[in-house]
């Protein structure tokens, strides 16, 4: 990682110029009005011809700004060049050297601020190479065909690694450690592995069959997954080491505690944390109630507080569950929306309404304790705050009533205390997140941590990046190459 320099073939100047004149190949999508009422995936994927044509747009820049922008430093120009030659499995091998879950990251990474943002084609024409779409294409091709790229595992080392949490970070650590020859066990509290990939991100954005496939591949290669095991309750970390014989532990438990707004009426019926709303729909398949037993409330007018990916997932779920109107209520403006550009665009196409510079100050219920409306206030943007975004300031006297019978709070999440509160040796910061160094080492010997439980709510790929670094450090420790 770091300091990557593309040393593959160079393009003659005239070829570069020709490539600069090309246009980005559009992703085929379900029709917006049709898809707003079903849970099938929105993006339908490239075909081989489109994939090659898109990969041929890469300028093979020696400076590779795309690689610099990637949290796990995938060798982008090299895999794009393989795709342009039609060598799809070779391309996938290049990706998999750095990223164990390309079918997933190809769908959920914020490419516009990572690989595609700094892409030279983006600077030239605002039409970056569809790197995410191509990553997804080769990963899907492997899953949907008999073609397989090679994954080489080192001979067994005799060391045992426990991974606590089966989200993207934990899966990455598991994949890396398994390839390095260690015995890997994943512990997951839910009845299904995948973490946020299965409970949080909806089917229409990331089909669960893909997550299931990736996890099954890991199991086939020898990773053992223990679902329904909540570490901190059923085993302490010390018990995992002393009694279950683990030599190292990775804690990737995410930031699972939902934040509420702390305003009047927040416990009325019809108000949900995004975690509850999405978990019911995605993990428990409540969208298929009563074929599945878990129900979900159906709103006529759904309002979602927040502007991130979780907010977009929630509001689009509301629409698909039959809402007549679905709103995003965001206290800043369009420009500050933290969600992926594509999700915002898809939500707009599907008819989601955006109420910017607005925040609720009170929820209003009827005699039965059900939500009927929210009192909101308008905001204006002041000076930038710590996050660099302009701070919203309430406009006095701008209060108004917005009717709503279902509200979802998607304003972020905090650290879940179950594991951390039972492990006094692990140092926490003042917000309750685990303190870890650059390699993911915590204050407890033999225990690494990474992802949202260290950084606070972030992205799938950042959790995977943290997992990669921790796995490398863990491997050095287990092989005696590095002291604790």
């Amino acid at each position: 990682m770091g300091g990557y320099k593309y040393e593959g073939r160079r393009l003659p100047v005239q070829d570069k110029k020709a490539r600069m004149k090309t246009h980005r190949n559009k992703m085929t999508e379900q029709d917006p009005l049709a898809r707003a009422r079903n849970f099938d995936e929105v993006n339908l994927g490239y075909d081989a011809e489109t994939a090659i044509s898109e990969a041929e747009r890469c300028l093979l820049c020696p400076s590779s700004p795309c690689v610099k922008g990637c949290p796990v430093k995938i060798r982008v120009p090299e895999f794009l060049d393989k795709i342009s030659e039609g060598k799809f499995m070779e391309a996938l091998e290049i990706i998999k050297a750095d990223n164990a879950l390309p079918a997933i990251t190809g769908r959920v990474c914020p490419q516009e601020v990572q690989c595609e943002g700094p892409c030279t084609q983006n600077k030239v024409s605002k039409e970056p190479v569809g790197i995410g779409y191509l990553e997804r294409y080769v990963a899907d091709l492997e899953r949907n065909s008999m073609d397989r790229c090679c994954v080489n595992c080192s001979p067994p080392t005799g060391k045992k690694v426990a991974v606590v949490g089966s989200g993207p970070g934990g899966l990455t650590v598991a994949a890396d450690m398994m390839r390095l020859g260690h015995e890997v066990h994943i512990y997951e509290a839910f009845h299904k592995a995948g973490g946020v990939l299965v409970y949080g991100i909806p089917e229409f954005r990331l089909p669960k069959a893909i997550v299931d496939y990736e996890i099954k591949c890991m199991e086939d290669l020898g990773v053992k997954i223990h679902t329904n095991h909540i570490i901190g309750k059923i085993y302490s970390l010390d018990e995992l080491m002393a009694e279950e014989g683990f030599d190292a532990i990775y804690v990737g438990i995410g930031a699972g505690a939902p934040r509420f707004m702390g305003i009047e009426g927040e416990n009325l019926l019809g108000i949900f944390s995004a975690n509850e709303y999405l978990t019911r729909s995605n993990l428990m398949k409540a969208y298929d109630f009563p074929n599945y037993d878990t129900p979900i409330a159906q709103g006529k007018k759904v309002c979602v507080m927040g502007g991130g990916n979780v907010a977009m997932d929630s509001v689009r779920t509301g629409l698909r569950l039959g809402a007549e109107e679905a709103h995003i209520i965001y206290r800043r403006s369009h420009e500050e929306l933290p969600a992926r550009t594509e999700e915002i665009h898809h939500a707009e196409e599907e008819g989601v309404m955006f109420d910017f510079l607005t925040t609720p100050i009170r929820f209003i219920g009827d005699d039965e304790g059900k939500l009927v409306a929210m009192e909101c206030i308008r905001m204006e943007l002041g000076e930038p705050d710590d996050s660099g975004r302009r701070r919203p300031v309430p406009l006095e006297g701008s209060n108004f009533i917005l009717e709503a019978d279902l509200a979802v709070i998607a304003i972020g999440a905090g650290p879940n205390p179950i594991l951390t509160s039972s492990e006094p040796e692990i140092e926490l910061n003042r917000w309750g997140y685990i303190v870890a160094d650059d390699d993911g080492k915590t204050s407890k010997k033999g225990v690494w941590a990474g992802g949202d439980i260290v950084t606070g709510s972030a992205t799938v790929i950042l959790a995977m990046g943290a997992g990669r670094k921790s796995a490398a450090s863990m491997h050095r420790y287990l092989t005696g190459e590095e002291e604790w």
């Binding site: 944390s273 009563p290 037993d293 304790g369």
Partner: protein, 279 residues
């Protein structure tokens, strides 16, 4: 796996089930709960532990059939596997030497109160149980509860067994007669309405009253907030902050309102299930 080793009907719609769950049995403490799923398509159901055996590696669950999920659970047979069992969850009861404690158990709440009474008695407390049911044929575990009680008072609403009336009546009398103030704690587990009235009964006496709440839950690990309740004016998650709370500080109306959130859906699911059974 979590095999059902024993199942029996205790009374009309209340069942007892012993389930293989070695790891949970090893760690279980009075007052904690588990979340179970009968099948992959089932709901996640929170159930407070009624008993467990470290030697056998088993936990005992007692549940009332109220809807599709509990009905499906009741239809499992010995030898069947539960799809999922997660635990032990929640905080354990505070087991200390309080002097004397009153344990008020109502209906299916008799089961979760048993291990708490047992632990309190083992800790040296004088345990007085008030054991209520609507009528004689809905009473269960009398012997079990009596075996961990110094006094065991049974009440039935219709007077078909024990004392006729509600559990709050002997509760009030015991507190009135406790001139030396040796009763310093009351536990109440049962229907929300019963716990509420127990708390109202004990409040004038200033005796701390612990209740175990049973709101709707999904994960049981603090990640969804479905189980939020209001205690002392603050929102708490029953799964990770509870399940036991100070009964004098619980917003009972909010609890019962939120418990009814899915009545229509529950009926729809139940009707569908019955139709499928008839097919």
């Amino acid at each position: 796996m979590n095999k059902v080793l024993m199942k029996k009907k205790l009374v009309s719609n209340i069942f007892e089930m012993e389930v293989e769950a070695k790891g949970i049995a090893n760690k279980a403490k009075a007052g904690q709960f588990v979340v179970i799923m009968v099948s992959e398509k089932g709901e996640r159901i929170p159930l407070t532990l009624a008993d467990w055996s470290v030697e056998k590696g088993t936990i005992t669950l007692v549940f009332m059939v109220v809807g599709t999920s509990s009905l499906r659970l009741s239809q499992l047979e010995e030898g069947d596997d539960l799809f999922a069992v997660l635990g032990p969850l929640g905080h354990a009861s505070d087991i200390e030497d309080y002097g004397a404690v009153i344990m008020v158990a109502g209906g299916v709440g008799t089961a979760p109160i048993y291990p708490i009474a047992k632990s309190l008695k083992e800790r040296g407390n004088k345990v007085i149980s008030i054991h209520g049911a609507r009528s004689k044929d809905l009473l269960f575990w009398q012997d079990k509860l009596a075996s961990v009680s110094n006094e065991h008072i049974i009440t039935t609403d219709d007077g078909s067994f024990g004392r006729k009336g509600l559990v709050t009546e002997p509760l009030k009398e015991l507190l009135e007669a406790d001139h030396d103030k040796i009763i310093s704690r009351v536990y109440s587990i049962g229907p929300g309405i019963m716990m509420k009235f127990c708390a109202l009964t004990t409040k004038p006496f200033g005796v701390k009253t612990i209740v175990s709440l049973n709101p709707i839950m999904i994960d049981g690990t603090g990640m969804c907030g479905a189980c939020r309740v209001c205690v002392h004016g603050k929102t708490k998650f029953t799964c990770i902050d509870g399940p036991e709370f100070d009964g004098h500080e619980v917003d009972w109306n909010l609890l019962t309102t939120r418990q009814r959130a899915y009545l229509n859906e529950e009926k729809c699911s139940y009707d569908k299930f019955h139709m499928e059974c008839e097919d």
